[in-house]
Subunit: 190 residues, 2 copies
DNA sequence: CGGATAGTTGACTTGCGTCAATCCGCGTGG
DNA sequence: CCACGCGGATTGACGCAAGTCAACTATCCG
C-alpha cells in the first residue's frame, strides 16, 4: 500500500508505445488482483519516489476467510479499480481530447480529496505531460495544446506540479463528469 | 449464465453515444461483479434472443465460504473480464481501426473456440456493424471500410453472420495479437 | 558551461467522422 | 402480389481533430 508518492501501472505494446492503465496515489493498493490471483498482467513504475507499506499476502488472504465482510470490502476496492479502467476506456473511445483530459484531472482531484491530499481548489500532481499523454491515448504535444485550452478557457491550470481548479463543479458540469463510481457511500454495499 | 445467444454490456454517455464494454457469449456469466457487490455500473442488452441459466445468488455466495478454491476460480473469471476490458482499452487508445477490429474478431474467435462454438476457420457471429462500431469506438461507416480492407487483404471475411478466417495465425501475427490473457492454463493459478 | 528532461509553438499530414446517397433483403399490410 | 418501410450494408465527397515533424525555450544538475 502506497504511503507516499505516485506510481503508474502500464502496458507496453509491441510497436513501442505504452499505455498507462491507471495512476496510484497514497492510500492505494498495488497489485490487488495480481496478488490474490498470482497473475501479472501489467507492470508498475513509480512516478515519484514511493514509500509503501508491505502487506503479508498469506495473512491478507487468511483474513478474508475469517472476515467475510473484510473480504467484500477488498473486493469492492478491486472493483473500483476496474470501474476506473472502464471509465477511462469509455473516455478514450467516445470523448475528445479536451473532455478526456479534464476527466482525468478531475478524477485524480477527487481521489486526492478522498485521502486528504487535495481540495476543490486543487492538488499537487507530479505527472509530466508525457504521463498524461500515455494515460489518455494522446501525444504529449497534443496534451500540451489541451492544457493550454483548459487554462485559457478558465477551467484548470496545471503548472509546476500543481493542478489548480478555477471552479471544480464548473468544469465538472462542462465536461459531464460524474463522480459516482468512486464513491463508497454511493454504492449499495453494506 | 448464458446457455445460448449473445449479449452485450454497455454504457450510455450523456451525449447520446454508447460504448459497448464487452460481448457475452454462451458460457459467460453475466454481472458477476455486480452480483457479488450489489452494484450496477453498466447495462446489459441482448444481441440475439438469449437463453440463460439462473444462479441463486445466496447459494452462490455461500458456496464461496465453503470452498476457497471455488471462490478463487470465480475470482479468476471476474479477473478475465477485467483483462478483456484492459485489452480493449489499450486497443482503442493505441491501435488504429484496422488492428483494433482484427483484435476484436480474433478475441471473439478465441472465446468461441473455448466453448466449442468455433474453430480456426471461423465462427457464427450475430453482431451488426453497429455493434462492432459501438464496441470499437468507431462509426459503423468506418467499420464497414475496415471490414472491406480485411476482406480485400485476404485476412477475414465477415458476412451474413459468419466470420471466416483466411489464416487465423496469419492475421494474429499481422496485427500483433496475443491470446495469453484469455488462457486459463497460462495463468499461474492452481 | 554542456547536456538532460520538460514544456511550448508552428506548419503540415492523415485517419477517422460527418453527411448524403444508394442498395439489398425482409416483413407487413393494403 | 405489389408497395412500402425499415434495418443493415456500402460507397463517395468533404472536414476536422489529433498526429507528425521540427524548432525553440526553460530549468535543473553535474
Amino acid at each position: 500500500m502506497i504511503s507516499k508518492g505516485w506510481a503508474s501501472s502500464y502496458k507496453f505494446l509491441r510497436n513501442g508505445s505504452r499505455q498507462i492503465v491507471n495512476f496510484h496515489i497514497p492510500g492505494d493498493f498495488l497489485g490487488l488482483r495480481s496478488i490474490l490471483l498470482r497473475i501479472a498482467d501489467h507492470s508498475i513504475e513509480p512516478v515519484t519516489p514511493v514509500a509503501a507499506a508491505e502487506i503479508d499476502v498469506s495473512a491478507f488472504r487468511s483474513s478474508f476467510q475469517r472476515s467475510h465482510r473484510l473480504a467484500r470490502s477488498f473486493l469492492w476496492v478491486a472493483s473500483t479499480d476496474e470501474a476506473m479502467v472502464v471509465e477511462r476506456f469509455i473516455g478514450v473511445a467516445r470523448r475528445n481530447a479536451f473532455d478526456r483530459t479534464a476527466h482525468l484531472l478531475l478524477e485524480l482531484g477527487e481521489r486526492m480529496k478522498l485521502v486528504g491530499l487535495g481540495t476543490n481548489a486543487g492538488y499537487d500532481c507530479p505527472l509530466t505531460q508525457y504521463h498524461l499523454a500515455d494515460a489518455l491515448g494522446l501525444t504529449a504535444i497534443h496534451v500540451n495544446r489541451v492544457l493550454r485550452q483548459l487554462r485559457e478557457r478558465g477551467f484548470v491550470t496545471f503548472r509546476n506540479g500543481r493542478v489548480t481548479f478555477h471552479g471544480f463543479d464548473n468544469l465538472a458540469s462542462a465536461v459531464d463528469y460524474n463522480t459516482a463510481y468512486l464513491d463508497y457511500k454511493g454504492s449499495k454495499i453494506n
